[in-house]
């Protein structure tokens, strides 16, 4: 089964990104496919490669980046939400790409299930 995931909050402030990450790992563990992870609202902050959490804390940007590149998962950051929040190409971590909102609608169409994580 193909899963789509929508993340509406940034790392750390809300648990949304953590929950989505654990969920995504479990989706793969159960033998399903992840069609796309779409980052919207403050979710766009999840791709900021300048993020530097304390050494004993998890690094969500790095975790998503690794999960995406190792499993060929499409990690899409909404361009409109990113622009107003100052997330531009120069700070985008490996494995993420910036694109339009149509990619979210497409995920809704193409994936068998869409799950939203937010505040």
């Amino acid at each position: 089964m193909k899963f789509g995931i929508l993340i509406n909050e940034g790392p750390f402030t809300h648990q949304a990104s953590d929950s989505a990450y654990r969920f995504a790992e479990a989706v793969l563990a159960r033998g399903h496919e992840i069609y796309r992870v779409f980052f919207y609202n403050d979710g766009v902050y999840n791709c900021n490669k300048l993020s530097e959490p304390q050494s004993d804390d998890r690094n969500l940007v790095a975790l998503w980046s690794k999960l995406g590149t190792e499993n060929g998962i499409d990690l899409v950051v909404c361009i409109a939400a990113a622009l107003r929040r100052g997330i531009k190409d120069e700070v985008v971590a490996e494995g993420f790409r910036i694109s339009g909102l149509g990619q979210l609608v497409e995920a809704g169409i193409e994936a068998d299930r869409l799950v939203v994580f937010g505040d």
Partner: protein, 129 residues
Amino acid sequence: MEEWEESGPEVVKRFMYVNRRAPYGTIYALECLEVVLIAAAFDQDVSVVFLDDGVCQLKKNQDTTAIGMKNFSRTYGALDDYDVEKIYVEKESLEARGLTADDLVIPVEVIAADDLRDVMAQQDVVISS
């Protein structure tokens, strides 16, 4: 439902966008509207539902001059131009706030929770923000 109806380029899914937040206090109302306007360009079946504080997004006479934020309430009028015609407002939420359909910037279908329940259960994709 036959297998061929579920896949292929001509699949039409029922998308519902759920608004439960007041405008201005947070950006969710505005950014959800931006999604709906994009979604309208895809050939899918789109519904938009307003319940809880989401009904406040449609209140007439919004004037944001003194708070310095962009007044986007007029943009709801564009939904009709984009052929988004299924716009539901939950009756209970409207009444709890002392509002009526006349207070809203666009014509909507005011719907009781009992009926909204059925509309929601017919969707294929539900996007909340």
